[in-house]
Amino acid sequence: MVGGGISGLTAAVEAAEAGFDVLLLEKKPGLGGRVAQLNLYFPKLCSPNCGLEIIFKRLAANSRFRFLTSAEVIAVSGGEGSFEVVVNLKPTFVKENCTGCGRCAEVCPAERPNAFNFGFDRTKAAYLPHRLAFPYRYVIDGEACRGPSCARCTAACPYGAIDLEMEARTLILKAGSVIWAAGWEPYDTARLGNYGGGRYPNVITNMVLERMASPGGPTSGKILRPSDRREPASIAFVQCAGSRDENHLRTCSGVCCLVSLKQAAYVRECCPEARLAMFYIDIRARGFYEDFYARVREGTGIELTKGKPGEIREDPATGNLLVLVENQLNGRVLEENFELVVLAAGMAPSALCAGLPASARDRDGFVSPVLAPGFYAAGCATRPMEVAPAVRSGAAAALRAVQWLGRRGHGR
């Protein structure tokens, strides 16, 4: 299993429970992937941690499941029944016997921007990936750490779990089949110059809003404008920020409409007075999500305008933002003022990785669910999708990955 996000975890837990040995490799120091960063799922508006917790619980007890974190796949070779996977283990400077007591972080003098919260707050160089981390183990950011000359953590750790001399290691692992579930990355909105992405502090992405709204996030669940840490009186959701765009992501990301509707629902809870507006081309709330769309539309009073904003301008004095969009009913260009703009950044397939030949990708950068006999892909690596299909895609890939074992009489 390459990737410990929701589709990878699902494939792993389902295959392990069906009686197959699974080894999961995750590039980051903790499992959970992108969903661990989400505040709530649509359409139930429930926390992703509930689903993650039960998966972790099932995996924690399953002797057929093993995993490596901070493990990046750099090459995959071979074929069904005899794959060789080359893995680069990045040093975390904390050994597996860490108990998660947190002494290292208490004494650590160095800080780093918290990538989990998109840099909106800071952690110590010795940090727990996040509150619900699995494994519940601290890691040390090699770039922020002051190194062996400081070593306060080494002295503070009662368990001798810290090794500041730890070096990268390369492992060669054998596998009968491989599932590629490397997931997605939020599209870099700094490339959307006309929206001021990455330039105007109060133009944020939907993922940043997720972290902000999360009770465990950088603002403890408060929605605050980055420029002055004030609750915004008006928020605009700008759809297709990068998606459905020949200059950026040519595909529709499939989830952003619902993400924005979900965000409108929870923002309405904590900012009951705020003006909410959404600018879109099509509201793609397929299937039962239509119910959710109707519920949010009626329950939040969000103003829905069909039209893709062409420009966002900042008033440097106030940090407020002028959203320029055409009112298609009369052809007039509206200039609307908002205190916060949330860009519905699209889903880009995770960056090119040596483990996968470039030829395996389609023109959008996604990979086919069946790459070769024994080599499968799942989740957002294959196409943009929300959590429910990612779960199903994980289960489907798990089945394909165990079929060859079934044919050899496994389990009988």
Partner: protein, 721 residues
Amino acid sequence: MAAKIGVYLCSGCGIGEVLDPAGLLQVAEDDRRVALVRESDFFCGQDAGLIQGDVTDRVVDAVVLAACSPRFYVKVFDYGPGLPVVRVNLREQVAWCHESGSEDTQMLAEDALRMALARAGGSAVPEPFRLENPSRAILVVGGGLAGLTAALEAARAAYRVILVERENSLGGWLRNVYRCAPLRPPYAESAENPFHLLSREVESHPGIVVYRGASIERTAGGPGQFDVTVRQGERLLKERVGSIIVATGAGAYDPAKLTRLKNLAYGTSPNIIVSSKFEELALRGGGRVARPSDGREVRRAAFIQCAGSRDPEHLPYCSAACCVETLKQAQYLLEPDPDCTVFIYYRDLRANGQYEHFYKKVQEEGAVFIQGEVVHVADRGGSLSVEADDLSLGCRSRVEGLDLVVLATGMIPDVAGGGPEQGALKLDYRQGPELPALKYGFPDSHFICFPYETRRTGIYAAGSVREPMDLVTTLEDAAGAALKAIQCVEMTARGQAVHPRALDVSYPEFNMSRCTQCKRCTEECPFGAINEDAGSNPLPQITRCRRCGTCLGACPERIVSFKDYSVALISSMIKAIEVPDGDEEKLRVLVFACENDAYPALDLAGAAGLKYNAWVRIIPLRCLGSLNPVWIADAMSRGIDGVLLMGCRQGEDYQCHFINGSELARTRIMNVSETLDRMGLEAGRIKMVEVEIIDYTKIPAILDGFADELAALGPNPLKGF
């Protein structure tokens, strides 16, 4: 029952700095079942061997480990199926969230240890429930795209498959389809209909038995031993299977009901047709579409989306596939003849994901997309017209001289009322013959996290029977369902529970001699696992059981017990709590926490260093549905001042892994308030809250708030009796 409990007291991770080990040692020594006590600050690391050694040497037959939360180091402290391990959560729920060196904190830790000892002493070792000759075969009901795919994928993993299709030929919906919407990346080109290939492969696969023109007469038993009676014409066949995939698909929304949509004028002209009819015309004409009234080739056509879908009067949901299906159908006209004129009326063009390429392609082929609401369709002497409030023009617009108008009708699940597949399984279950449904008749499941789990164990729904979906999604969905079905037969064969208590080998046993035939267990089981005999006695079907314990909570006679989870066991834990006299002004609050959400939330509160009162005594429950009201009476009569139930969210967007546990608990405590009244106690001593994991920041407010409410009520008057 354990007679030689080993107690292992960990002082690591700050526990030793908060608690006095002497007090804990004393508690252990006071219990005559304790054979040995060991202390360390690193049982999870260098001293892990100590416990293993005691177990191997058979010095102990149960382990009580007072250390971190049971959510951690599960495999490290696993000594095999024969040895119960009870964890005392001193780290997250004592040391990290209570005052160091305080008397109250110490009392909390000691009570927690006493409760664990009671639990360890009262637990027996569960023996897995193994069927004698479990079936590993998989039944697939429905031979459409989802069914064929599921059957083939399961057979490719070398599982025997029995496929039952009601029609005389396989293919389902696809049989009447000319071409398919794109099936492969990058999803820009329509695809050949795969059903010929698929059905041929299924029919020729040695591992698949196909019954065509067949239906199911009866499904009895449970996972590993479903006994299915299949009727094929006059023949009745018996099959035993291990699990079932329901892939009965969806049907088109009843066109007759469309006549109520006056603006679409359906039924007033032979040339106003539904999308399935259009597909049929294309198939019959080998791609050429002749109009029904006079057989003339169609040169000008309009497609109208959402005919019935996204309409509160008809289908409130979106049918998910129609936009892309219409794109494909427009191609039937445009590809052979680019001079054809095609209009597509839509509200939102839902070509999600990579289907965007397909949308663009059909645009380039010349289809004219008109966003807006259709207000009027009419046929004047064979020439049709459509009028719409046109959003892109900003005014009303009209198209005339059309040969054909195609209405994109939505889909309805075939297990839902009205569909021809009604009664697809005919389950011999006390709770009814079919899968309990969500809104709109689609089978109930937690459709985000655990989409395949229906409320009938071992029966998995796949394809558009579960929710409206397109073909690509269906292919993946069917493969996933096949894995779940395989998993179910394997776990059942091992005597293990399936999701969510996967690997659990305990199961409920019924002491029938005391049963009063009240039927609560048979009615309340969320998974229909308990049948009834003619005398209304419960007949538990263990392989259908998910081990949530709802039956245990439902039974007023306390006759349902698991080896390691029972009414008596939890009662003994409650009795292990030391309740100070009323004049000490030390409240005691018993918390029943759902182990899936509330318990981890309590852990997280500790990990975040949030502080709350040390009067709470926490007992995790498998599910609040397993809460037996007798425990509340026990707690009250012990002099405990209040009982707090922490469960998950109820209602339409429920989160319970067992469907309705917290809802059942609420009903039960409402009934308990009467009993409280009789005991002369205030109803406010029992409270229920909904807690998600992420609500951990609210834990102190919840617990301290309840303690304040109890303080206002004064001490439980039953203290000391």
